[in-house]
């Protein structure tokens, strides 16, 4: 089965500083990868998804960007953090070539980001 590794688990960064959150996947190849954010009192919001190396789709305009330099590596970045970037960030993976009704998402443990 798939295992999703995310780090760091918690992060406190000042406004204007850069950000890099990393996610790696084990147990599958060519997965679809996703970055979600959960803000307080809100549901999981999809930020980015990727169906392959170098292929990134953005769901919402924001201060963040994503990259997929390797098949099982997904990175969430920002050049200058805003206070509104605070939240809980989750990386998820799904087997390539399967849609939601065939394969559930596998999630990492998340990163709690606090921008001060």
């Amino acid at each position: 089965s798939q295992t999703i590794h995310q780090w760091p688990a918690t992060l406190v960064q000042p406004v204007g500083s850069p950000l890099s959150l990393e996610c790696t996947v084990e147990g599958t190849s060519n997965p679809n990868l996703y970055w979600y954010r959960q803000a307080a009192g809100r549901g999981l919001q999809l930020l980015f998804y990727s169906v392959g190396i170098g292929q990134i789709s953005s769901e919402v305009p924001q201060n963040l960007s994503a990259s997929r330099p390797q098949d099982r590596q997904f990175i969430l970045s920002s050049k200058k953090l805003l206070l509104s970037d605070s939240g809980f960030y989750l990386c998820a993976s799904q087997g390539q070539g399967t849609s939601s009704y065939n394969s559930p998402l596998h999630f990492g443990n998340g990163t709690r980001l606090t921008v001060t």
Partner: protein
Amino acid sequence: AQSVSQHNHHVILSEAASLELGCNYSYGGTVNLFWYVQYPGQHLQLLLKYFSGDPLVKGIKGFEAEFIKSKFSFNLRKPSVQWSDTAEYFCAVNLRNFGNEKLTFGTGTRLTIIP
């Protein structure tokens, strides 16, 4: 726009009580429905799913959910909860034949079971 509503933000129950967590969605077509659960200190994981067929679906750990199309609902139930059911529960909905990039989550319900 598509939306998923979970009206219960925090539910507190005693052990052995019965549970029902509400989930309503607003979609214009045929849907797939999911409940995900996050136990304390663990990652989010699938609890159960509905794609088609019997609208009453069984999941892990004695949970079940019923799809009522006329009410646009997919409520989660368990006849007798245990302390270990303490977790956060998320309902999620997707349009049939679409990938997870179209999956919409509710805001979640935090369930606390008192021993």
